[in-house]
């Protein structure tokens, strides 16, 4: 046996002569890596200090992006139409339309002048268009040309509609060297491809592992520290300590509701890094469940069982109880109910606006040049999404805290919700849409078609009463 042991040890020492050396190197590099991480990223984040590395990084990325697509465009210019004259024609077309018509219906969509639209739509209402179409002197009765209006609007919506494009990632004007955002992928030049290759190396070789480590550390710290805080007996000390951990003072105050537009789960992290909130959401299993339970130990959140979500009264009661308690944190709610791609704000569900407390609107706008934060939950799962997130260049977003709003006497919950939505859309530079975010998965309600039919009947019959649209 001793001979075998000797044989084994000689074999080992033969096969792994540098065994201890490698272990040492690995150990050292790991420690160094971890220390760097801690020193440069985690501790400054906790203390709120910045080294300015991020700003430098962003500036160099922007220079890179504006540089490379220029080459792409030059190629396109050689081939067919001039890109920049197309752009100015789009602006002209839109501006001319506005000047010519000058009429604006209140339920028309806002147009972004820089959008790369396929068609230019006319923002005129049903009545105006049909009246224009009628031959002069004809009474308001049926004319065979009336179908032209519906026909044209129908085909326009087939070519370009306001809703379906909100549920996929936004198209960029200039390429940011990520394959996922390139729609006309073909070989432009070797230089560009080389640049893209280098980008891939950097993103997957350096940024991704960095962020994965950070993520694990962050989640681990959260769970551990929250449990420690949970051990504290009385409420006052708890609040003091959790404030320190999150660090910056609250912007929305206790006893209020914070509403924001929703693009991705990262919204929550961004807002939470800047203030303490009570989250509202469904109870999840797995890793999310662990995090949720840990968070509850530190400060009270509202987690619902799935069965409870359907019962709106129960939900409203729990929310108003939480809000009535002054010591509890403001609630964070995303009234759209689903992730939208950050080019527009869709209908706000009225539930959170019925409670009757102060609402603090927050507008969140991501800069799409660095990485797309939108989570297309019907196409990608959570893991895929996180992978995309962590291998983008950066996630850059602007957060605007808007002044608090309350419901006025003369408005109902829906009008209040629309008012808040309009404020958020205006600040964030997003299109303000009346469509429901639920259209991502569900069909549109029949009631909207009936509205159109009612409108047309009014024109046909020539009713003199002004019936309000329900």
């Amino acid at each position: 046996m001793s001979v075998q042991q000797m044989k084994w040890s000689t074999m080992e020492s033969y096969l792994f002569p540098f065994d201890s050396l490698i272990c040492m190197l690995l150990g050292i590099s790991f420690t160094v890596w971890f220390t760097l991480l801690l020193v440069f990223i985690i501790v400054p984040a906790i203390l709120g200090v910045s080294f300015g590395i991020r700003r430098l990084y962003m500036k160099s990325l922007i220079k890179l992006f504006e540089g490379s697509p220029g080459r792409q465009q030059q190629q396109q210019m050689l081939r067919t139409e001039l890109f920049y004259t197309e752009r100015s024609f789009t602006l002209e077309a839109w501006a001319t339309l506005r000047m010519e018509r000058g009429a604006k219906e209140k339920n028309q969509h806002l147009y972004k002048p820089y959008s790369n639209g396929i068609i230019a739509k006319e923002p005129m209402s049903l009545e105006q268009e049909i009246q224009e179409m009628r031959r002069e002197g004809a009474e308001p009765e049926f004319d065979m040309s009336d179908i032209f209006y519906f026909c044209r609007r129908g085909v326009e919506s087939i070519v370009d509609d306001e809703v379906t494009k909100r549920f996929t990632a936004e198209e960029l004007e200039s390429w940011n060297l990520l394959t996922r955002s390139n729609y006309n992928f073909h070989h432009i030049s070797t230089r560009l491809t080389a640049l893209w290759g280098a980008g891939v190396l950097i993103r997957y070789g350096f940024l991704l592992p960095l962020r994965v480590t950070l993520a694990f550390t962050g989640v681990g710290l959260l769970v551990v520290l929250s449990s420690i805080i949970g051990l504290f007996p009385s409420g006052r000390i708890k609040n003091y300590v959790s404030d320190k951990v999150h660090l910056i003072e609250n912007k929305p105050r206790n006893g209020g509701i914070c509403v924001a537009n929703h693009t991705s789960p990262i919204d929550v992290i961004i807002l939470a890094s800047d203030g303490c909130y009570a989250m509202v959401g469904q109870v999840h299993g797995g890793l999310m469940g662990v995090i949720q339970r840990a968070m509850v130990k530190a400060c009270p959140h509202i987690w619902f069982e799935r069965s409870e979500v359907k019962d709106r009264h129960l939900v409203a009661k729990r929310l108003s109880d939480h809000v009535a308690d002054e010591s509890k944190l403001p609630i964070l709610i995303f009234p759209e109910g689903t992730c939208i791609n950050n080019t527009s704000v869709m209908m706000f569900k009225k539930g959170s606006f019925e409670i009757g407390c102060t609402v603090y609107p927050v507008a969140i706008k991501y800069d799409p040049r660095f990485g797309d934060a939108f989570w297309n939950s019907s196409k990608f799962g959570m893991v895929n999404y996180l992978l995309h997130m962590m291998s983008s260049w950066a996630i850059v977003c602007s957060v605007w805290y808007l002044p608090p709003m309350s419901r006025r006497e003369d408005e109902d919950a829906v009008q209040f919700a629309n008012r808040v939505k309009a404020a958020i859309a205006r600040k964030g530079g997003l299109a303000d849409l009346l469509w429901d975010g639920g259209l991502k998965r569900d069909k549109v309600k029949e009631v909207f078609k009936e509205e159109q039919q009612k409108l047309y009947s009014k024109v046909l019959v020539g009713s003199s009463e002004d019936r309000s649209r329900s």
Binding site: I118, I147, E162, T164, Q453, V461
Partner: protein, 195 residues
């Protein structure tokens, strides 16, 4: 997240579509992206459900008829060529058109072909005549439940009376064209495509 749409469309196809429909190169690629984004099944063809997923089209009273116009007789799928051919009807009219296609040997977006497109929305059974029933059907689609049967019937009768010249109580395509002589069809049935 993005679609490599234009890499699936070959140059020869684009040239053929350009000749047939008159769209420009960039318009065709942009419309192909749109076609691709509507095609949830990713099989290179659109079905009726794909169209109905567009909310603005679903609430259009004539939505179903318009969708029907894209599908050739008895088929359930429309490919990109068919899609472009139908859309070509809505291209604005230009003076020096060199391409020829369509039932009348004229470009797809000529006044006659635009009128034919609209006529076919009424004429469901394709017998080249709009009967009183077909007219009533379309009227009912456009007004919903807001107008009574008698009133609608009298509107239909009045319309047929005005248009019918040969006394067969139906509107033929020529009578249809005559009635809409003064209407600016070129502008009303055109979509302003950019670039």
């Amino acid at each position: 997240m993005g679609s490599r749409a234009s890499s699936l469309l070959r140059e020869e196809d684009i040239e053929e579509i350009k000749k047939e429909t008159g769209f420009s190169h960039s318009q065709i690629t942009r419309l192909y992206s749109r076609f691709h984004s509507l095609d949830k099944g990713e099989n290179g063809a659109l079905s009726r459900e794909d169209f109905q997923r567009i909310p603005e089209l679903a609430i259009n009273p004539l939505g179903d008829r318009i969708i029907n116009a894209f599908f050739p007789e008895g088929e359930d799928q429309v490919n990109f060529r068919g899609f472009m051919r139908t859309l070509a009807h809505f291209r604005p009219v230009e003076d020096n058109e060199k391409n020829k296609d369509g039932a009348t040997g004229e470009p797809l977006n000529s006044r006659t072909n635009k009128l034919l497109f609209a006529f076919r929305l009424y004429d469901l059974d394709r017998d080249d005549k709009i009967s009183r029933d077909e007219l009533l059907q379309v009227l009912r689609m456009m007004v919903g439940v807001n107008i009574s049967d008698e009133q609608l019937g009298s509107i239909a009768d009045r319309t047929i009376q005005e248009a019918d010249t040969n006394g067969d109580m139906c509107i033929s395509f020529n009578e249809f064209t005559k009635v809409l002589e003064k209407v600016d069809v070129e502008q009303k049935m055109s979509i302003r495509f950019l670039h």
